[in-house]
Symmetry: C2
Subunit: 501 residues, 2 copies
């Protein structure tokens, strides 16, 4: 069992240096999380505490996505945390996929033993598992809710916590407990379920690109990488700064697999009883891991303005009480005007500290735009604006600040996306020879577009020899004759290989 | 073990009659939940499924309260679902309060046995409990986050699911798993923690009265009713239509009890290490139970406009295709204008059904205001508006509808509150003799204002003999000499006795 832990740190005010990416990428990631006050270790192995700064990002993500889901007709509901052990066994592939990593509740009471230690007491007749995903418990209910074609489509989402007993954990990217949303729909036709599967992976793509400023490749998972119980799995894949791929969201076409296992049937227009067609789709707090790994730098967190809990901070500067008395009221007026006219969350940092450490702190926290206001700026009726993403400074007329802010934030948002897209394109290579393939995977990594014959054995061998897996078969794959990178057999097109998180 | 279950019902379209309150209040409650599509039974004992209509009410509650909390400086975070068993044992009263009702995770894997049945495998070194409340896991973390007075106050809330292994369950009111928020604050002085305790119970009072339209009595719990581990507990109590009291929210002053158990210390301004003073406070999906029990009637759910997922429904009426073609476009224009100008969620029910069953359905779902638009209304440029709370009908000029709706909704909101307040006042009686007290508790119930000497033994005896407990010692209790309703000893004021949910 291995757990990558954030360093324990006893002081909120500390300014521990952040490890450079080039020196130790894994440690850099953990340092950014600590410096940005995003998460902390917990006394429970593999579970993290999501700190207010991290949770506020999740709240922003939820707000945006929840609206996007609802615009497609989805409604929210809530299903039980616990699942009877027998439910898992109803879909053969599903149980294979999840049985090895389930937290199992076996007792419902604690009693003190002779040594004064609390021990489990009152054994359950049937143990319960803590949901690793909710297909089984939800579809058991769907079987009672759905009777006729008039009950379809059923489009339900839930925001919930999930537990998977992972052996190797890393904050946000892979934790034993995580937060997510899981959408579960039921349809009257195969086609409609196909469409919904695609629709939702496209919602995720839009969210990642427009809000997270992360370019993603949408495509299909291979048979060996698909969800346990699905007919096929679609996904979006994002490239991290270390050249690895991160699966940022998945949308599964379940066909009638679960409908048959849970007897979810409906009376169609012709009066015939049919099994429904289903989809499920989800994203999790893992997205915060992606956000960190794509945009942040050696100075700490970098956040896209659209998801930053505090898009703008204003740091007033003074070196005497007299200056302070002049600067603070103006700072407060400017901040109030930005907050009220633009409905933007802005903080005024008027703590009794030197400005340097304040700048440094907000930089580590990833605040996209910093405004500085000192006595000189007061005299020239200006504010100094500093971008977190590229460090550029600009003097802005105080009268123009209301026009300036939204443009500057949009610029930052666009720059972040374009920078990430440029990086992704540069690190995506067409490769036709296995030697070159291996060299890339041994080196800087990235996405490798290579031909694959479709045989799971080749996929397996490549994984064993290079640790690279097939991230996806991109939707925009070109028809192109070629030879499998591993076995040389005929192939119809290139797929994306990468090392994966 | 007893579980009050919603009737299983195989059809979404059914119009099962709702049991009258006068006939069977408990069954009425379950029928309203079913007819309003608020919740359903689940295959896990004591756990319910919160259906989209019920969850949408919870979402509205969350939105309002989250804003109210944040306005007092609170931020959200997320702590682990699991708590090491040893943590619970650190605060003596706390373990007493919760050990008997904990779900215990003992294994982290499932394996098939010889009969092909899944069985728990891979035993944990230390069992974990599923949080019944999060004081212990949070304050363990607080002990690392808090170092100096500059880290205080720490004001954190979390929205989470909670598990308490209750023997007797009832949808929303008492379920094994429920959703809630729990605020946990740490302060540098006793006074500040006192103030926060009071501040939050007042936030709850404001929310209940202004949004839920439920009048509540705020006060103190007695020693025997207080939270396990608190110095004192404040609460709000609401009267249900059966005369019982429902504890709608609690705010606890924890003093230094948990700080001492978890070593949460800070360096004060004088350089001395002190334990922090703490509070915790919460409300849960139980509030939905209160909402149902206070306002609903024999025709089903009644919702206050401020929390109704759909405050207005528009039912177009036609008896020929020709009429339909005329009515529908106008209905749609009116709905669009209401939605856009007033930002109110409105549904147009254009299903191919007769209007009667539609009216009946929306009535059962508690929609506060129903608009009807038929050919005659079209001719007279009118809309008919029908209030859910009192059935009053009104013809409204189509040109005036935008002015009319907000006023009508506010009227409904106010009427619901006033009706509930009138009921509460009528069923609150000053009682000085134990015979009368017993008669009331044997009969219609209600709040009884009676003198109590402060002795826990009298409280216990009264409970045993009448099932009534002390709902609270109201904050606005008048100083008044009197004699304890049970023992006749001197008393300084009246407390509220009631049977409780």
């Amino acid at each position: 069992m291995k757990e990558e832990k954030i360093k324990q740190n006893n002081s909120e005010e500390s300014d521990l240096a952040i490890t450079k990416r080039s020196k130790d990428y894994s440690q850099w990631y953990l340092d950014v999380i600590e410096a940005g006050k995003l998460a902390d270790n917990s006394p429970v192995r593999g579970c993290m505490v999501i700190r207010p700064n991290g949770y506020a990002i999740w709240e922003n993500m939820q707000k945006v996505m929840d609206k996007m889901f609802k615009e497609t007709g989805v409604v929210n509901a809530y299903f039980p945390l616990f699942i009877p052990i027998s439910f898992l066994n109803k879909e053969a592939k599903h149980v294979e996929g999840f049985a090895k990593e389930c937290a199992v509740v076996t007792h419902h009471r604690l009693e003190l033993d002779a040594d004064g230690k609390l021990q489990p007491a009152a054994k359950l007749d049937e143990p319960l598992i803590v949901r690793p995903t909710s297909e089984t418990i939800m579809y058991d209910t769907y079987s009672r809710w759905i009777n006729s074609y008039r009950d379809l489509p059923l489009l339900i989402n839930q925001w919930a916590n999930i537990v998977r007993w992972e052996m190797r954990t890393r904050p946000f990217l892979r934790t034993m407990e995580f937060l997510w949303q899981e959408g579960h729909t039921a349809h009257g036709t195969n086609e409609e379920a196909d469409e919904r599967t695609l629709q939702m992976v496209n919602v995720y793509k839009k969210f990642c690109e427009e809000y997270m400023a992360i370019p993603v490749i949408a495509g299909m998972k291979t048979e060996s990488e698909k969800f346990a119980g699905a007919v096929y799995t679609t996904c979006i894949e994002a490239m991290m700064q270390d050249g690895k791929s991160l699966q940022a969201g998945t949308s599964h076409m379940l066909g009638q697999n679960f409908a048959k296992a849970f007897e979810v049937k409906f009376l169609d227009q012709t009066g015939e009883r049919q099994y429904v067609w289903q989809t499920s789709w989800g994203v999790s707090t893992r997205l915060i891991g992606a956000l960190i790994m794509v945009h942040s730098d050696d100075n700490g967190l970098v956040l896209p303005p659209k998801l930053a809990p505090t898009p703008v901070v204003l740091v007033p500067i003074w070196s005497s009480e007299e200056e302070k008395a002049k600067v603070l009221p103006v700072a407060s007026t400017i901040a109030k005007s930005i907050s009220e006219k633009l409905n933007i969350n802005i903080k005024v940092d008027d703590r009794e500290m030197r400005p340097g450490p304040k700048f440094y702190e907000w930089e580590k926290m990833g605040v996209p735009l910093r405004l500085e206001l000192g006595p000189k700026d007061l005299a020239s009726n200006c504010v100094v604006a500093v971008r977190r993403d590229n460090g550029e400074k600009e003097k802005v007329d105080q009268d123009k600040i209301i026009e300036y802010i939204p443009k500057a934030l949009q610029n930052i948002q666009d720059s972040l996306f374009n920078k990430a897209l440029k990086f992704q394109k540069e690190k995506t290579k067409k490769v036709d020879f296995y030697d070159e393939f291996k060299k890339i995977m041994d080196g800087d990594g990235g996405f490798v577009l290579a031909h694959w014959c479709g045989n799971a054995r080749c996929e397996e061998q490549v994984k064993e020899e290079t640790k690279a897996t097939i991230a996806c078969v991109p939707f925009d794959q070109k028809k192109e004759k070629g030879k499998c990178i591993y076995c040389g057999e005929e192939s119809e097109g290139r797929v994306i290989f990468a090392k994966a998180y």
